[in-house]
């Protein structure tokens, strides 16, 4: 199975399998970068996987005051879901409960174009109880909702893209938990330099990769036992004897190209670190290629 070896890191001859998703982006601003990040972190805190969170969301990058509509510090958040209706529901619930409530915040569309529009301020404005005011400036329309620290300004709509891809992934394997984490962290750091992608798990990393199905009724996913190092002697393990820890990076992107680009950047960082300090092997998760139409072969990405 293993063909490639770069800087001591074995690259599995396999591919990551990813799915079409609906995605949107918003820009959150605040009087300080800290409060912009706070609003975004609160909004994306429970958004690691569509399995139980309804959506996958994370901060894509921090924005300088020059990059935001109101000239204040901000962040751009990407949000992915399996359907337009679910994306709309998650967007308005999360903005309503986490951004509207955050001191000094304002919220704007984070995409300039797309396949359809999602309600943003149009869904939140009713909080104003009739005191909300709309202001149209050119093609953009904003709602001003009176709140206890002033006004919550929120653009009326944002864009939705149907070209988004979710589930790009790398499975990072190492001889110790510390080495594996170091390599995975380096990969996530490199991936964050790629625009229009997020890694929605904590710090970009998932330690509990899952397989489809379970022996228990009602559970749609369960632990990926073939990659659990403590079971490597007990199951049909994918791990060789030297592997003591496995971590996964899941990547969602606004296009298939950026997901591939992020995987390429992550792989390069892992290889650059080498097996002495980091991972000794990298793989990817797939379902035999039958479920998702986007396939990212590691051998194409590492060359």
């Amino acid at each position: 199975m293993r063909e490639l070896n770069a800087n001591g890191v074995a690259i599995d001859d396999t591919f990551a399998e990813a799915f079409d998703m609906r995605a949107t982006a918003i820009v959150i601003t605040a009087p300080t970068a800290r409060w912009a990040a706070q609003a975004a972190e609160t909004m994306t805190g429970f958004a690691t996987s569509v399995i139980a969170c309804g959506c996958e969301a994370a901060i894509e990058r921090a924005l300088s005051p020059r990059e935001t509509p109101d000239g204040r510090p901000g962040v751009r958040v990407l949000m992915f879901a399996v359907s337009t209706a679910e994306l709309q529901k998650q967007l308005q619930n999360r903005v309503g409960q986490c951004v509207l409530t955050s001191p000094g915040s304002a919220c704007y569309a984070g995409l300039d174009a797309g396949d359809d529009r999602l309600k943003l301020g149009d869904a939140i404005r009713f909080f104003g109880d009739g005191w909300q005011i709309a202001k149209r400036l050119g093609a953009r329309r904003y709602w001003r909702v009176p709140v206890m620290d002033g006004e919550f300004v929120c653009e009326s709509t944002t864009w939705l893209t149907k070209k988004a891809v979710g589930g790009g992934n790398l499975i990072v394997m190492g001889e110790s938990p510390a080495k594996t984490l170091a390599a995975t962290e380096a990969a996530v750091k490199a991936m964050r330099e790629v625009a229009d992608v997020i890694m929605p798990f904590p710090g970009g990393i998932a330690r509990s990769g899952s397989k489809v199905g379970s022996k228990y009724k009602g559970a749609s996913a369960s632990t990926n036992d073939r990659y659990c190092p403590t079971l490597k002697g007990a199951v049909d393990s994918a791990l060789t004897a030297e592997i003591a820890s496995v971590l996964e990076i899941v990547i969602d992107g606004l296009t298939s190209e950026v997901v591939g680009e992020a995987m390429r950047a992550g792989l390069a960082a892992i290889v650059e670190m080498g097996s002495e300090k980091g991972a000794s092997r990298v793989g990817a998760g797939n379902y035999g290629g039958k479920l998702g139409r986007h396939h990212y072969h590691l051998k194409d990405l590492v060359r």
């Binding site: 109101d70 000239g71 005011i133 709309a134 149209r136 400036l137 050119g138 300004v153």
Partner: protein, 267 residues
């Protein structure tokens, strides 16, 4: 395409036909035959102007007159520049493009405008952007930028869009405003925002008399004002700076719907 004024016209001239969409595809001779008179004495474009061949999407009128009425009427694309004064209803019902009046414009400039940009380098007459008698809605989109002062009732029944007046404004600025934004760099006359329902009026140097039907809501640093400042900064750096100051917000007109506001920048 250039139109050079031969001599000051002896009657009011209706320049409504001289817009790019009407002139497109016409020869100079055809254009010269367009009637622009408003009295029983027949007057054609060729009588008033020397017409120089050129691109009808870019029209230059060399020499203005207070008798040049309805210049840029219904302009939807391209640009028109009048190097001088204009009469009544300059840019009325514009929906796109750019109309520049090099001098002063008469009453009802930008009346009922729906889009595009009207720039007036001198002063504007009364009822800037406002509706004509019997109409219920004034300007409903686009941008009007007056470098000088504006007459009474600027922005009357403004529905949408932005009116920027760098200088003073006459009495009843923003009267009966439905929504939209009116910014005045100088002082406003009596009772700005008279019976306004919604919308924003910024007044740089206060008003001669403010209506008691506006409720003082205190001074604020409004995010929405930053958006406005960024949006108008290219057109008017002076007015953009006013929007960035702490703003005293007066809510009103409580004699009408009361969801509008007058913003007074801290001096």
């Amino acid at each position: 395409m250039r139109f050079s004024l031969r001599e000051p016209p002896a009657q009011r001239v209706d320049l409504k036909p001289l817009v790019p969409q009407t002139l497109a595809g016409k020869t100079v001779a055809e254009i010269e035959r367009i009637e622009v008179g408003t009295t029983r004495v027949r007057l054609t474009a060729g009588d008033v102007f020397r017409v120089h061949k050129g691109d009808p999407a870019t029209i230059l009128i060399e020499g203005g007159s207070a008798r040049f009425d309805r210049v840029g009427f219904g302009l939807s694309e391209g640009s028109i520049r009048v190097e001088g004064e204009a009469g009544v209803q300059a840019g009325r019902l514009m929906s796109g493009g750019r109309l520049t009046i090099g001098g002063t414009a008469g009453p009802f400039a930008g009346s009922g405008m729906k889009g595009g940009t009207l720039a007036i380098e001198g002063d504007a007459g009364e009822r800037l952007g406002g509706p004509l008698s019997g109409e219920t809605v004034g300007m409903s989109g686009g941008l009007i930028h007056v470098r000088g002062a504006a007459g009474e009732r600027a922005g009357d029944r403004l529905r949408r869009g932005i009116i920027l007046i760098e200088g003073r404004a006459g009495a009843y600025a923003g009267s009966r405003m439905i929504a939209g934004t009116l910014a005045i760099g100088g002082e406003a006359g009596e009772l700005p925002g008279y019976l306004m329902g919604r919308g924003t009026i910024l007044i740089g140097r206060g008003a001669t008399l403010l209506s008691p039907t506006f409720a003082d809501c205190g001074e604020h640093d409004l995010v929405a004002a930053r958006l406005l400042a960024a949006y108008i900064a290219k057109a008017s750096a002076k007015l953009a700076r006013l929007f960035r100051r702490p703003l005293r917000r007066l809510a009103g007109d409580m004699a009408a719907l009361g969801k509008g506001e007058i913003l007074l920048p801290r001096p």
